[in-house]
């Protein structure tokens, strides 16, 4: 975002300059008793001050606006559902997209795991029964008719194992592919971070500029009220940098320690 390093500085200088000029004129009008003219000069000074303020606010607002407008990437092609005409145009839509994509990937992964799990457990169960009979065979406890049955069952089992393992391995592959959301969402989140950073920078500029204007205009502000403390009942979500903070536990072990210290 193109913003001057020290916003308001130029405006302030311009204003000070015109203030000096006008002050000289004001004094001379007053000395000559031309009061109507003097009032006009005072009015002009006020106008110059307001003009400078509006000019700076306008400049920064435009910069902010263009930062938000420029924040556009077309992610519709990656979204299968939804109408293709919908262009994602703002950060919250972008983050919604991230939520949607991660949700889809998580559910896809769980679908695949849920469909693989019974295949594997069925195979395991059959192997266990076969092994029991196999051991009986090794101990020569099996009759000829039973052996023919075992012989057939082992053949079936081998065919089934081949089939099942190829099914499971293709599902594992799909699980792997379902993780592609990380790349897509990562890109989107990075862009949102850039936007937030740009907006923050603009706001800091605006605050600095407002400070300049206050200085020129001689405005003093009362104490700002402290923001009310957040109630804990809503919760705060995951803690970032938990390992560096004293008031946050960094894992289940610390939770257990804390609870047992409370007599749990």
């Amino acid at each position: 975002m193109a913003l001057s390093k020290d916003p308001g500085q130029e405006t302030a200088q311009e204003f000070e300059h015109s203030l000096k000029e006008n002050a000289r004129q004001l004094v001379s009008y007053l000395e000559n008793g031309e009061f109507a003219e003097a009032v006009l000069v005072i009015h002009a000074i006020n106008q110059a001050r307001d003009r400078g303020l509006y000019h700076e606010v306008g400049k920064l607002t435009r910069a902010l606006h263009s930062a938000i407008v420029n924040f556009q990437i077309d992610t519709t092609h990656a979204l299968e559902e939804g109408n293709d005409s919908s262009k994602i145009t703002d950060a919250s839509d972008h983050l919604d997209y991230v939520v949607k994509l991660t949700d889809k990937a998580a559910n896809r992964t769980m679908d695949l795991v849920e469909s693989s799990a019974p295949i594997v457990s069925e195979l395991g169960q059959e192997a266990a029964t076969l092994r029991a009979d196999w051991e009986r065979l090794q101990r020569r406890e099996i009759a000829a008719t039973e052996f023919r049955d075992l012989y057939r069952r082992i053949g079936d089992f081998l065919a089934k194992t081949e089939q099942s393992s190829s099914a499971v391995s293709s599902q594992l592959n799909e699980i792997l592919l379902a993780q592609d959301y990380q790349d897509l969402t990562g890109q989107v989140i990075k862009r949102v971070i850039t936007l937030v950073h740009d907006v923050e920078e603009s706001l800091v500029s605006l605050v600095r500029m407002a400070g300049q204007v206050d200085r020129i205009a001689g405005i003093e502000h009362g104490e700002t009220r402290a923001t009310p403390k957040k109630t804990s009942s809503k919760g705060e979500g995951p803690q970032i940098h938990a390992d560096k903070r004293e008031d946050v536990v960094s894992g289940q072990d610390e939770v257990d320690d804390l609870l047992s210290s409370l007599g749990f």
Binding site: N107, G235, Q252, V255, L258
Partner: protein
Amino acid sequence: MKILIVDDFSTMRRIIKNLLRDLGFTNTAEADDGTTALPMLQSGNFDFLVTDWNMPGMSGIDLLRAVRADERLKHLPVLMVTAEAKRDQIIEAAQAGVNGYVVKPFTAQALKEKIEKIFERVQAK
């Protein structure tokens, strides 16, 4: 054994449901926040409650307090499974009468341990 799983994210409910099924608990129901969970608890004969903390509508800690304040539900075992990891919050949950506290991200093992411990304690009473 009928278990209610309360979390605003369907994926997390599904993960917990799957883990519970692995542990042999197949009779589960789901709710997406305290406001929908409370009437279910009041009319559904649940034996166990697994709840998140941070949810829109009624949060998990408020749900826990409502459960403890309800004459018919006050002995229901409650396990909190949450990303809330501040010491103050864990103490708050303990004071509100939680039976177990698991922080996200968690392992299947941690969930299993806490659930078993809660049932041991409930049965010993």
